[in-house]
């Protein structure tokens, strides 16, 4: 009967704060989904089973598995740690309940931590004691848990939940699917076949039969020598066979060396396969990033110098913009300067006139000649007033000149205002003059400049966001195991990948030649054996001959039988894998193709996807690659028994799948697993009202989904306050 997980509860386990009854998931036979965003307890849930099976948890910082005892301080909920005073204790644990056909089991693993100093995150601040594992058992008819004391039985009960040999197919985290089946490794599919068949028996028998055949031949040859006279031809034939066998051994050794080379190259190629595709994409992106960087730098410089230009122009004195807004000031100035000047003249005139009226007004007696008459008098050298001559150079003539020029003689003008601003206003007028005709053009100029600025800014923003997108794309293209940046890394991977293909081709042609050579040697051995049989004396006891002949016949037959069993299982796996694959890709647009297991020259099995036209489809997405492998995992399980008896526990198996894959996945898993508990982020939608994606909402309505949980944490709280809240939606 299948093992079904009934419930799991946590006590102060990571973000699962509180008592067991506060954080409890109940599950049913069929598909159970736990939806959670990052940090909302998916991996912690998975960790509970790692603790159960292996006394380990996964450290999310370095993705390495750590022993519970060594890592205990990090396992305790931060909130619980914070609430524990120095000298007090806090317990952390997991409790899992599962049932088989007849019994129900409850397993509790926990530890107690005593706080001994202030800093709660320090490992030295806590003393850890691992509590005894509690295992209780009850039957379904009269449910009453009774403790199990025997350590072996306790372990057996844990193993029974998911058998250790099958855990790799039934208990995994997303990316582990990739490692589960590695078609480049001969051992990978062999391991699966070994799990599913009794092929190891055939191998044992093949070894025994080979040993027996050797012994039988030696015994027969011994008899031959002891019962017959010297026979040169027989001696020669026996010697020839020995030499041929030595040659065969050498060639076989060479073959296994080249097989190993081929496998190593193929392994490298497969390891690099994803990276190669990524490296090519990455290199392409690197080129784009570098081009965009150059462009961005240029535009940035343009933008900066553009802004600098505007700034500088404000200070060069000719920039029309500085007069912007002063349009009305012209008339204002005109009016005011007029008033100013008027006032100024008045002031000047009044002040001087008041102080020295004679300097400003020529006061002549009545009948005084006017200026014209004076000029005539000067010219005619005669005074018409007194009618006397006034010859040039005489006192009279000089008097006439003095009289005419009198007002102009006074140059000693006095200041009449405290500050003479005439020049200041005059200069102002002078300097403003060039701007007078530019007012109309200013708004257009400002507009154009702003447009230019916006255009540059937009280019800058566009380039920046393109660059950001490219960098983010590049970041997403992980090259496993390589942290270094730059094109060099991508180029190295591309070169390594191509190099591994070259080495595979070289090894493959050597393998072919060696196989031909081995075939030739074997034929020669068979012929030599025939000759030896004919030359053997007839008086050898029959038992020796029969012993030799039968054991020899069995050597080949056993090897062939082993091959047949292997091939049959591979073919069965292929059929099952295709059935599951079709279910998995039901909602994708890649229908029509099939999965094919191909034997590589070195004996490994490669998994190819062949389209309608018989062509191999390669370079598909990571999700597609993972889906293929998952189909094989399902085939290993379904080919094994008519009914698989263990639950599937998978953390983020869908992370690389597309939406259509996800749908296919949830529909397909019940075909193989009686119960599955899938921890998934992809159905979470923070912005949606019910926090689920469309697919999440659809799935919840389906009958085959038995329970549906949503985990959330309040991200606004500090880490120390954060706890996972479970909400059962179905």
């Amino acid at each position: 009967m299948a093992s079904i997980i009934n419930s799991i509860s946590f006590k102060n386990f990571f973000n699962y704060y509180g008592e067991y009854e506060d954080t409890r998931y109940d599950f049913l036979e069929g598909v159970n989904i736990v939806v959670a965003d990052n940090g909302a307890g998916k991996s912690k849930f998975f960790n509970a089973f790692l603790w159960l099976f292996y006394d380990q948890v996964l450290d999310s910082d370095d993705k390495k598995k750590k022993n519970v005892k060594d890592f205990a301080v990090k396992i305790i909920s931060d909130k619980a740690k914070n609430e524990t005073s120095i000298g007090d204790q806090v317990q952390t644990g997991i409790k899992i309940e599962y049932s088989t056909g007849r019994y129900k089991y409850q397993i509790t693993k926990s530890f107690t931590a005593t706080r001994i100093s202030e800093k709660i995150t320090d490992f030295d601040s806590w003393q850890i004691t691992i509590d005894d594992m509690e295992v209780d058992k009850t039957d379904h008819i009269l449910p009453k848990y009774k403790p199990v004391y025997d350590a072996e039985e306790k372990q057996k009960i844990i193993n029974q939940l998911i058998l250790p040999t099958l855990r790799q197919y039934s208990f995994f985290q997303g990316e582990e699917v990739d490692k589960m089946i590695d078609f480049s490794k001969k051992s990978s599919i062999e391991d699966a076949v070994r799990t599913l068949t009794n092929i190891s028996k055939y191998e044992d028998i093949a070894d025994i039969v080979e040993y027996i055949a050797e012994k039988a031949e030696k015994d027969l040859n011994k008899q031959t020598k002891s019962t017959s006279d010297h026979n040169d031809r027989l001696e020669t034939a026996l010697e020839t066979k020995k030499e041929l066998q030595e040659e065969l051994t050498q060639e076989t050794e060479k073959l296994s060396e080249f097989n190993a080379l081929y496998e190593a190259a193929e392994q490298e190629k497969n390891d690099l396969e994803q990276n190669f595709a990524n490296a090519e994409k990455r290199k392409e992106l690197d080129d784009k990033v570098s081009y965009k960087n150059r462009l961005l730098k240029q535009v940035k410089e343009d933008y900066d110098s553009f802004l600098d230009g505007i700034n500088n122009r404000f200070f060069d004195g000719n920039f029309s913009w500085i007069s912007f807004g002063f349009e009305d000031s012209i008339n204002d100035f005109k009016e005011k300067i007029q008033v100013f000047r008027q006032k100024r003249y008045e002031k000047k005139a009044l002040l001087n006139a008041a102080e020295n009226p004679n300097d400003y007004f020529t006061i002549l007696p009545s009948d005084s000649p006017d200026a014209v008459t004076l000029q005539q008098m000067i010219d005619s050298e005669h005074c018409y007033v007194c009618n006397r001559p006034a010859k040039k150079g005489t006192e009279e003539h000089n008097y006439l000149l003095k009289l005419k020029n009198r007002p102009h003689e006074n140059t000693n003008q006095k200041e009449f205002v405290k500050n003479n601003l005439e020049d200041f206003f005059g200069n102002l007028q002078l300097n403003a003059a060039p701007f007078l005709n530019k007012f109309d053009a200013i708004p257009t100029s400002v507009l154009r400049t702003r447009e230019k600025e916006l255009e540059l800014k937009q280019r800058l923003d566009k380039l920046s966001s393109e660059l950001k997108a490219l960098k983010s794309q590049r970041k997403d293209i992980l090259i496993a195991g390589t942290e270094s940046e730059g094109t060099d890394n991508a180029s190295t991977i591309i070169n390594q990948y191509k190099g591994s293909i070259r080495r595979m081709e070289n090894a493959s042609s050597r393998i072919e030649r060696l196989k031909d050579s081995i075939k030739d040697i074997k034929t020669k051995i068979v012929n030599t054996e025939k000759e030896i049989t004919n030359l053997r004396p007839k008086d050898i006891p029959e038992g020796y001959t029969v012993n030799y002949e039968i054991s020899k016949a069995l050597v080949d037959a056993t090897l062939k039988a082993k091959e047949r069993v292997f091939d049959k299982m591979v073919s069965l796996l292929e059929n099952h894998a295709n059935e599951h694959f079709q279910s998995l890709i039901k909602y994708n647009d890649i229908k029509g193709g099939v999965l094919r297991f191909e034997k590589s020259p070195s004996g490994g099995i490669s998994l190819d996807y062949i389209d309608d036209a018989g062509n191999e489809v390669s370079g598909a997405s990571e999700g597609f690659q993972r889906m293929k492998k998952f189909a094989v995992v399902m085939s290993i399980i379904s080919a094994n028994t008519s009914q698989y008896n263990y639950p599937l526990l998978a953390d983020a198996p869908l992370s690389a799948f597309g939406k259509a894959f996800n749908k296919g996945f949830f529909e397909a898993i019940p075909e193989v697993f009686p119960q599955s508990i899938i921890l998934v982020k992809d159905l979470y939608d923070k912005d949606s009202e019910d926090k689920l994606t469309d697919l999440g909402q659809d799935l919840m309505k389906n009958d085959f989904i038995k329970t549906f949980y949503l985990n959330e944490v309040d991200e606004e709280l500090s880490q120390i306050e954060r706890t996972t809240k479970l909400e059962r939606r179905k």
């Binding site: 028996k201 055939y202 044992d204 025994i208 027996i212 039988a216 012993n547 069995l554 039988a561």
Partner: protein, 70 residues
């Protein structure tokens, strides 16, 4: 059951069936338990059974020699 299956699988090799005249219906009913009607069946049955009994190759060979009276 598993032993019989292995026996039949190995003996189903066409070269063997021809050389030792093992007919299809005979093959299908072969078991690793005595009585054995053919030497090859007896030899292979002993190997399969004794391997399950964890006898090593050398010990199995000794048993086979007895079968062949050598």
């Amino acid at each position: 059951m598993e032993r019989n299956q292995i026996l039949r699988e190995i003996l189903s090799d066409p070269e063997l069936t021809e050389k030792y005249s093992i007919k299809k219906n005979e093959l299908d009913s072969l078991t690793t338990s005595p009585p054995y009607h053919k030497k090859i069946v007896e030899v292979l049955s002993v190997i399969i059974n004794e391997n399950d009994n964890h006898l090593n190759s050398s010990m199995i060979y000794k048993k086979l020699k007895k079968i062949h009276n050598i």
